[in-house]
Amino acid sequence: MKKIILSLLSVSLFVFSCSNDDDGGEQLPLGDYDNGILVSAEGGPASVSYISDDYKTVENEIYYNVNTENLGVYLQSVGFNGDLAYIISDNANTITVVNRYTFVKQAEIKTGLITPRYITFLNGRGYVTNWGDGTDTTDDFIAEIDLTTNTVTGTVDIAEGPERILAKDDRLYISHKGGYNINNIISVIDTSDNSVETITVNDAPDEMALDSNGNLVVLCSGDNRTLKSDFVETAASITRINTATDAVIETLEFDAGMHPSQMAHDNNEVYYAMSNKIYELNDDASDLPITSVLDVADINLYGLSVNNNKVYVTNASFTEQSELLIYDLTNASLLETFNVGLGASKIYFN
């Protein structure tokens, strides 16, 4: 209760200070959760943790503390647009819209979504990947959201298992990791007429980023379901796609037995995690690195972000609190460890 009152106090303080902030000087934080790291945890219970940039303030379950209600399970991802954060709970078929700095709830989108995964924003609209029913391979779609009314205004049917979504110019790029199965395509939607093209890549494309050359970089983990009885391994790759022509520029394929699991992009480098090691690949390099830049501890590495030469990973547990580990890339050393929520998966910079 105390926390709630405190946070409400700070919210009203912020409103007050906002109206007075054109007298120069240091910029005041836009809310309790400005200038820090947000870690979303799938749950259940789903939660978001905040760690200030100076590591002095750490608060778990910030959404609950502010709004005295729980987020839906499982918290898949958070998308940011302006001052707003869109928290996506896939099994709850819900997007909870909050102010990204105060975490005060603004709206809820509960209709028209079925197993939503990720969101991106383009021309005043939100676009959300949806698996539909996980067991149904033909009901996957992109939901189009009117950001002023927070309602789903349209859908585009696409292939099985759409995961990440990224906007470039008037086009949407969607990686089809495959949902309950494994898929191997990138869908491209032209939002002017909602036409869909597909680009074939290696199996299980997941993380995507726009690199410093304006290309789309995709991490494909390959099929690595070793415990499946009819398992046939396929090669992982980092694939670069020209966003002007939507053609594959190059596919940097991994050797058999090598399956990177997460990817992040920062400055001119692609970072990926493989067997608890972090590798760095320059946007101009055409060969995969042989040596890693960082050895991470023996953890269940579930989330990866890189920012200003710092590597952030989560050690996810689904039975107890997870950890956020922060490493300094300059000397490959562990800087900090924080306890965060159950099933911590995504790291965002606020």
Binding site: G72, D136, T226, L227, K228, S261, E320
Partner: protein, 615 residues
């Protein structure tokens, strides 16, 4: 360790007047038990019997019956949904459910869903505390629940009709008929339950959406003396259910679950002098269909068929000494979307010995060796003893080694199944003291269970979830059971209560296991005067942790709760032929807001009316 010893010797110093108990030779009634092991080979084991009258006067779900009438703690995924026990701090698959002597835990997940068992189908239910793997096989670690259809060989004809209606449009109807003579007996029962189950989530504006369920239970049991030495018996039980899986406070659900269980057993028993031979052939069928979306046709399927042949041979040398050998073979074939067609063959040999050398002492020694397809060969044993020290005072003690084999899901699930798993293995010791007075019985038990090679699903290095043998758990605690009844003129009073203190900790982290309350208690009181009975049931469940790091608060624990049910039964008439009674029960009368699984609220205050007619 000190705590454990304290539990074990709790109250040992209590004294009573020295008088050897008279060896009460029980007069044999014309009832043939479906599982004589429970009576003849369990001298030092705590067994609590719930008789047919308790079964009749309680809710029809086994979960509710046991939650209010035993030391066992339950967690339900919302009312009527999948329900699993924690018996003496053990996990859901470490309680064996035994149907007429046969272990019926699912081959798929090692558990029995206690909300699929309708108690109206059974003549009695026994709760056997502590390890019983020698007698009942895999999973009998915390204890076992015995569903019995005992056959009545006397001239009788009795039919009961039962119908009821309650909140959330709960409807039930059933009949049970038993007819017999000294030479044969037939028992037939059918029960149907249907509920919208759309209760309000107290303190919110939500209701329990998508929680409706209905199920049908049928059973036929018959016995016939084909000669004065031979009896043929047939037992059959069918369950068919459809449940929509209800949502939670943090997410809706559109799932549906259909399941069916068929159990059939034919038995030939021959008794000649000291010898009794029993041959049983059993067929068990379990099947489920899980619909992620109830409005679509696609579903995932799992099913297992098991054929089991059991022969046991009992030699009763005299009133004081008997032994039994058991040979059992079973073959289970699975089939489903998440695995190919796994097959498991199991063979076991068991020897049980019970000896009562004098009026003071009875003991048993029991051994079992299993052989399974997977190459596992668990060897287990148990010893037990009873000391009738004084007229009203008895000590029971037992120690055993027990096991739980990996389930089909653990071994074969695609992807993730791990063929390298070994059985969980467990040692335990249990000490009980019983104070028996004509109107008053008290049982006080202390126990210690150590289980290692626990099978747990965890994400592996590639992120895939897979089960491994990890962790060692120590469970120990104390249990109190009190039963009392008094009659003053025509006023009858019945009180029974249970309390348990349970520590169940992961020995690596020294943390309490999730969903094991330190404290659990219940109390049932009934008052009867002529045609009127008033009763009250109360259950207390202490705080539980929901995460392994034992954090307090909304994100790591559930608050304790008290639930009370108040009821009244009125007998309109009762004579030698007919009997009509009606019952009204107000459940959760205090309108307690509670969850026994996180984010799944349980029902608010609700009512139920039952009408029973016997002819």
């Amino acid at each position: 360790m000190k705590q454990i010893i304290t539990f074990l010797i709790l109250g040992l110093s209590v004294c009573n007047d020295l008088q050897a108990q008279v060896d009460g030779v029980q007069k044999l009634e014309a009832v043939i038990l479906s599982d004589s092991k429970l009576k003849n080979y369990a001298s030092g084991v705590k067994i609590e019997k719930l008789t047919d009258s308790i079964l009749r006067n309680n809710a029809i779900s086994l979960t509710n019956l046991l939650a209010f009438n035993s030391n066992i703690y339950f967690k339900e995924n919302g009312a009527g949904m999948v329900s699993s026990p924690s018996f003496r701090g053990t996990t859901a698959s470490q309680t064996a459910v035994v149907w007429n002597g046969i272990n019926i835990n699912s081959q798929l997940n090692g558990q029995t869903d206690f909300n699929t068992i309708n108690t109206s189908n059974y003549s009695s239910i026994d709760i056997r505390s502590g390890g019983g793997s020698v007698q009942y096989g895999s999973g009998s670690i915390g204890g076992s629940i015995h569903l019995n259809n005992d056959l009545k060989f006397n001239n009788h004809s009795e039919t009961r009709l039962k119908t009821g209606y309650g909140s959330y449009n709960l409807k039930n109807i059933g009949f049970n008929s038993s007819i017999g003579s000294k030479a044969w007996t037939v028992n037939l029962g059918v029960d149907y339950v249907d509920s919208d189950n759309d209760y309000k989530y107290l303190g919110t504006n939500k209701i329990n959406e998508n929680g409706e369920f209905h199920n049908l239970n049928m059973n036929v049991n018959l016995g016939v003396f084909i000669s004065n030495k031979d009896i043929l018996k047939l037992y059959h039980q069918s369950y068919m259910g459809e449940r929509h899986f209800s949502g939670t406070l943090v997410g809706p659900s559109r799932a549906k679950y259909e399941d069916e269980n068929f159990k059939s057993m034919i038995e030939w028993a021959r008794t000649t002098g000291k010898f009794r031979s029993q041959l049983k052939v059993v067929h068990l069928h379990e099947m489920f269909k899980y619909f992620e979306n109830k409005d679509k046709e696609n579903y995932s399927l799992g099913k297992v068929n098991t054929i089991l042949v059991n022969h046991n041979f009992n030699v009763r040398f005299n009133e004081k000494l008997q032994f039994k050998t058991i040979l059992e073979y079973s073959n289970s074939k699975g089939n489903g979307d998440s695995f190919k067609e796994p097959v498991r063959n199991m063979f076991s040999t068991t020897v049980l010995l019970n000896h009562k050398p004098n009026n003071l002492l009875g003991y048993g020694v029991n051994l079992r060796q299993d052989f399974t397809t997977g190459g596992e060969r668990p060897f287990v044993f148990s010893v037990d003893a009873v000391f009738d020290l004084f007229e009203h005072y008895q000590i029971q003690i037992n120690g055993s080694k027990n096991y739980r084999i990996p389930t089909f899901n653990d071994l074969y699930w695609q992807p993730g199944g791990n063929l390298d798993l070994v059985p969980e293995s467990s040692y335990q010791i249990d000490l009980g003291q019983n104070f028996n007075y004509p109107n008053f019985n008290v049982k006080l038990n202390g126990y210690y269970i150590n289980t290692k090679d626990m099978i747990q699903w965890q994400p592996n290095i590639t992120g895939l979830w897979s089960p491994i043998n990890i962790g060692e758990v120590a469970s120990y605690g104390a249990e109190l059971e009190v039963k009392s009844h008094y009659t003053i003129n025509k006023h009858q009073f019945n009180i029974s209560g249970h309390y348990s203190y349970t520590v169940s900790e992961d020995l690596e982290t020294n943390k309490q296991l999730i969903y094991v309350p330190f404290h659990k208690g219940n109390l049932a009181m009934a008052y009867n005067y002529k045609a009127v009975t008033v009763f009250y049931q109360h259950m207390f469940n202490g705080d539980v942790f929901t995460t392994a790091d034992n954090l307090k608060g909304r994100f790591g624990s559930l608050k304790s709760y008290d639930v009370g049910n108040l009821g009244c039964r009125y007998t309109f008439f009762k004579n030698t032929k007919n009997e009509l009674e009606a019952e009204v029960v107000l459940k959760n009368i205090f309108n307690e807001i509670y969850e026994n699984v996180a984010f799944r609220p349980m029902p608010n205050r609700n009512f139920n009316i039952q009408i029973n007619y016997k002819l």
